[in-house]
Symmetry: C3
């Protein structure tokens, strides 16, 4: 085997493995959010986001980890925790390009009630990620409840427009 061929195959493999590791890291960001907010771990939830991250939903528009931590510590979030909440994302579709990535997917919030569990919210999500010096972080998460209206459909539809 020629040395040049060898070097090329190693470099290619290293890039492919890195991309697979990036997938795992991004899944982890998405999947850590629920356990953090459902137990009031404000710092852990905020640490998923980059310094200039935007978290936008029908219910709020937050910028930066400190604002996100405040939301996790809020009375509204505390009421959900005390009731018994589970923020569960679905398995997303992720696209990685170098040091940025994007994903779409669903999320649900289940709430404990006297009569069992209520599916309180089912939402569409569009995530953006950036690779920082400390690893991957969420740079933007946009979330709309699915209610038959155009917002959630446009959020997911944007993915298909961009992927032609």
């Amino acid at each position: 085997m020629e040395d040049a061929e060898l070097r090329a195959r190693l470099v290619t493999l290293e890039e492919r493995v890195r991309r697979l590791e990036d997938q795992v890291a991004i899944h982890r960001l998405i999947n850590t959010w629920g356990p953090a907010v459902d137990t009031g771990q404000a710092e852990a939830a905020a640490a998923l986001f980059s310094e200039d991250a935007v978290l936008q939903s029908d219910m709020s528009h937050l910028t930066g980890p400190a604002a996100i931590a405040d939301m996790v510590r809020s009375d509204g979030q505390r009421a959900l925790i005390d009731q018994g909440s589970a923020h569960i994302p679905a398995f997303p579709v992720v696209d990685i390009e170098g040091d940025t990535a994007r994903a779409i997917g669903y999320s649900r919030v289940y709430l404990h009630t006297d009569e069992g569990y209520e599916v309180w919210r089912v939402s569409a999500n569009f995530w953006e990620f950036t690779r920082t010096r400390d690893g991957w972080r969420v740079s933007r998460r946009t979330n709309h409840v699915i209610d038959g209206g155009p917002q959630a459909q446009q959020l997911l539809g944007r993915w298909f427009e961009e992927h032609g």
Copy 2:
């Protein structure tokens, strides 16, 4: 290090990485279906399937991408979209063997209602996949609602029979 040993280790690694990438590609086929059908992206939904693919459920038996695209464009599907629907697969179990693969897993359809969200359907799925010149495609998806009857149980049970 001997050249022969080196070549063998590189080839083995390349095969292992390819298999991991195959997992990601198959997850993507499964996870793209929901966002496509919940937003009426008929072409994107159809493009997940091979030319001779079969999509079979309690509700329909479709063959080929054109028939699947027609279903996504149907009045029935449009009514679900306008109501607000989320087709969410669970994290599946996938087996890859060369250029074919199979998977089992659950899927759910959540519908928006005046009183919140209804879990409309919970189904068992058995998927088959084939590697085409354009990448992995679904070649067969069989879906049965879970209602205590034998069909869903047999569909999942087949997996365990084959994995002995």
Copy 3:
């Protein structure tokens, strides 16, 4: 390229690929449980666990594969199967360290009823895994329903304490 550099890069890649394969194997253990217990595959469900495994929930405390198989064959489990049940874990967060691993994540049990589907249980889970001579196995799964009480919150909270 120097032979020593080459060897180091190959070894590093092999370790990284092994870790990715470990993730897939652990996901598979978590995701096989539902299809096994929802179809009464007692041996397949028990085979996910190591010889000294503990399966602990609000409803039971079982030790070892034989006790777990007995639970899957029990009248209570048979009643769920006949009603139509779907045990669906969420996408977990997994940490691998050598030959042991841990994960947290949610799980839900959906039950078929005359009026559609009921979300019967939503639980927090803490899994521990061990690499045996036969591959990865669950060595402990602790499960608490999410009801606003401290147990489920402490179970998930332990993850964040340990990951500081």
